[in-house]
């Protein structure tokens, strides 16, 4: 969201104190609100362009980037500890008995995945634009009783902070 409101993110880098930041953010918001009822699209796009140029000239040299965002301090720090889920299939049975309820359901989930895979691929192939996908966002399931495409990698994704 700092990308759609870059002026606010700028204000937050310039004013690390919460109250000062809030003051300048409210002033910015008032400037936006003055022109929010503009019906003429040409003027509106010109104002937007002027706003973006103003942001570019006034941006902070070292903006605050969240730790988990690209460029932040802990971006991809824990990627090396995130183990894929197929490793669970290689556990020894004595280890698998430590989590009986999970592993008893795991076989059913894997069967479900085998069954729904062809439908997921068919849906993705039907819905992708000819030039390739434009965004990383996956479409939801369209038909009744269908699972969303590539659901397995979302359901079995590793934790954010693998301990």
């Amino acid at each position: 969201m700092a990308t759609t409101f870059p002026l606010c993110a700028d204000a937050s880098s310039l004013n690390p104190d919460r109250d000062k930041y809030r003051f300048y953010a409210c002033l910015l918001r008032a400037r936006f609100d003055e022109n929010k009822n503009e019906k003429d699209m040409v003027k509106a796009t010109l104002m937007l362009k002027a706003g973006e140029e103003e942001f570019w000239t006034n941006q902070h040299p070292q903006p605050y980037i969240f730790p988990d965002s690209p460029g932040g301090t802990s971006y991809e720090r824990y990627e090396c500890y995130k183990v894929p889920d197929w490793v669970l299939d290689y556990w020894h049975p004595s280890e698998k008995t430590m989590y009986p309820d999970y592993f008893s359901k795991r076989e059913q989930w894997k069967k479900l995945r085998m069954q729904s895979w062809d439908r997921e691929v068919a849906q993705l192939e039907a819905e992708t634009l000819p030039g390739g996908p434009r965004t990383e966002a996956l479409p939801p399931a369209r038909k009744e009783g269908d699972l969303p495409p590539l659901w397995w990698q979302d359901v079995t994704r590793p934790r954010e902070r693998p301990t």
């Binding site: 969201m1 993110a9 969240f66 988990d68 183990v83 590793p158 902070r161 301990t163």
Partner: protein, 146 residues
Amino acid sequence: MAARVLQQCVRSFARPSLRLCTRNVAVRATATPAVFIHRPLSFAAESPRTRLFGQSRYGDLPPLTLETIKERVMYVLKLYDKINPEKLQTSSHFMKDLGLDSLDQVEIIMAMEDEFGFEIPDAEAEKLMTPEEIVQYIADKKDVYE
């Protein structure tokens, strides 16, 4: 040795039930000996924090729970001056019930980002229209009571 460490890592990876329970440090130490040996723990002495949460969290924040996320989200929303705190519920829609703008929704999501310390991409942020949805999204991202 490396295989054993990987085993321990995988075991700790697929251990949903142990993550948030308050077992004492001794039990946890016996359960994962290899991890403790291989990490250079210069501050491995038992701090009050480990005794408090039953887990080793050396420089990290206390673990999130659904209730704390909900409390923080509602607290931040009540601080926003365009929202009436009496009318605010977890299921109140920003645009329909509270009469807010799309710019207000963006501001709210930015406040949530600042509160929880991680970025919410625009495509998913424009769909979050009630406090309940925000709580669910944050719990999904932070793996809380998955």
